[in-house]
């Protein structure tokens, strides 16, 4: 049986350190308050030792300028240390960016702003590398009018797209997976937006990764049992050492969800 997945998310942000720009690991709250918490590769090794099912690396402000090269450097070092699947995204704009990340160890690449700006990019990437490599990352937020909208450029730019409709179009264009993140819930530890997760899961036939808001181990279980997501991803939750994958895994297992218990 295919297992449900628990996916730590490593969010990266550029910092000037000793005259050089490097990507450091951060956590975020509602895509706006950022706290630097360390080094991505060391953290990835910890997640590997805890048998995380996959990892997501995302350069969260790369869509604001061109920094795919910095991301490639991080991925290349990570690939020397971890032997597990990972998805990489942030500022991926061209087929060459896509290829560079795959060649340096990524199994999947997520695209967000570039897909909204140019939806044909989804078709191109899928045709070139296969649907299974193309993860459509969708950040969404509730608007003042009560409707949900897709936001791009790391949650700074509102679009007219509805997250459910955009998921459906993404699948038609060849995306192989949806990474669905609630900006309102990001870093708040108040639980996933189960309603929206469920609406997307019911509308597409590709796997859906639910993200944004996990603060308790039971929130992961809810993502699977109520949201029927194929995977749940969290950044903030796993960044603090008193909470970890082992706890989440036993909670999810106890809720009756099929999951990998250990290596």
């Amino acid at each position: 049986m295919l297992k449900k997945r628990i996916i730590p998310k490593l969010q990266l942000k550029a910092r000037r350190i000793g005259g050089k720009t490097r990507l450091v690991l951060v956590t975020s709250i509602k895509f706006s308050e950022y706290i630097e918490i360390g080094d991505a590769v060391s953290q990835a090794k910890i997640y590997q030792s805890q048998a995380a099912d996959e990892l997501i690396f995302v350069d969260i402000d790369a869509s604001l300028d061109d920094k795919v090269n910095l991301l490639v450097d991080v991925i290349r070092s990570a690939a020397e240390e971890i032997f597990m699947p990972f998805c990489v995204g942030g500022g991926v704009k061209t087929i060459d960016d896509f290829r560079a990340l795959l060649l340096n160890g990524a199994d999947k690449v997520s695209i967000n702003t570039s897909a909204v700006d140019n939806p044909d990019f989804i078709n191109e990437a899928s045709g070139m590398f296969g649907a299974q490599c193309v993860v459509l990352s969708i950040d969404f937020k509730k608007s003042r009018d009560g409707n949900y909208r897709v936001w791009t450029n790391c949650g700074t730019k509102e679009t007219s797209l509805d997250p459910v409709e955009w998921s459906v179009e993404g699948e038609k264009r060849g995306a192989g997976e949806i990474l669905l993140t609630s900006i309102d819930r990001d870093g708040t530890r108040s639980g996933l937006d189960i309603e929206t997760v469920k609406r997307v899961v019911d509308s597409v036939s590709i796997p859906v990764i639910a993200s944004g808001g996990c603060g308790l181990a039971s929130h992961f279980a809810e993502g699977f049992t109520k949201g029927r997501a194929d995977a749940v991803s969290a950044g903030t939750y796993f960044s603090f050492k008193d909470e970890n994958l082992m706890q989440v895994r036993s909670q999810v297992k106890n809720a009756g969800v099929p999951i990998r218990l250990h290596l």
Binding site: P85, N104, G105
Partner: protein, 212 residues
Amino acid sequence: MKMATIGIVDYGMGNILSVKNAFEYCGAGVEVCSSPENLKVVEKLVLPGVGAFGDCIKNIKERGFKDALDEEVIKKKTPILGICLGMQVMAKKGYENGENEGLGWFDAEVVRIEPADKKLRIPHVGWNDLDFREDCFLFRGMPEHIDAYFVHSYYMKCVNKSDIAASFDYSGSFTAAVMKGNIIATQFHPEKSQDYGRKMLENFIAWNPKSA
């Protein structure tokens, strides 16, 4: 003269770095073979692959690897491990984005996964357990239930069930690994399957089909 232990066939499509790192971690010498001549100097071959079937076989042919691979694998019986698309392309035919001929080493066709339960999602992404043949060297030393990492929409449908070394369940039984003589290939990614995957790579490094 054979120099390096493992030669990774680099035909321009594949997660070469992950495969190289994983074999090096297991202590093997690795040579990335970017031209067909390189295949002659290694003891064992790995055919990785990410992408679509048609592009894969096209690249293999255009870079002159098809004849070189036939020479090494079929004639000289050099052991080879195919991974993911590198496994699929060993079939006679593939149906991803049109019909294409493969290397033809297995009497098989590569078709889209169609689970009986239509609610199941495609691509098949994540960890699924393997139902493997206990006499297959790749799974030597493994417990009864192991999970491996898959990420694919197509699979190899074999004519000869005896070629199947492992299968996975996804509302129906699908090929997870095939083996014939000196050829072993996996639909899942051993290089990404954590400890058990690494054990499989070690089993491949230690494999000697000529003496078996």
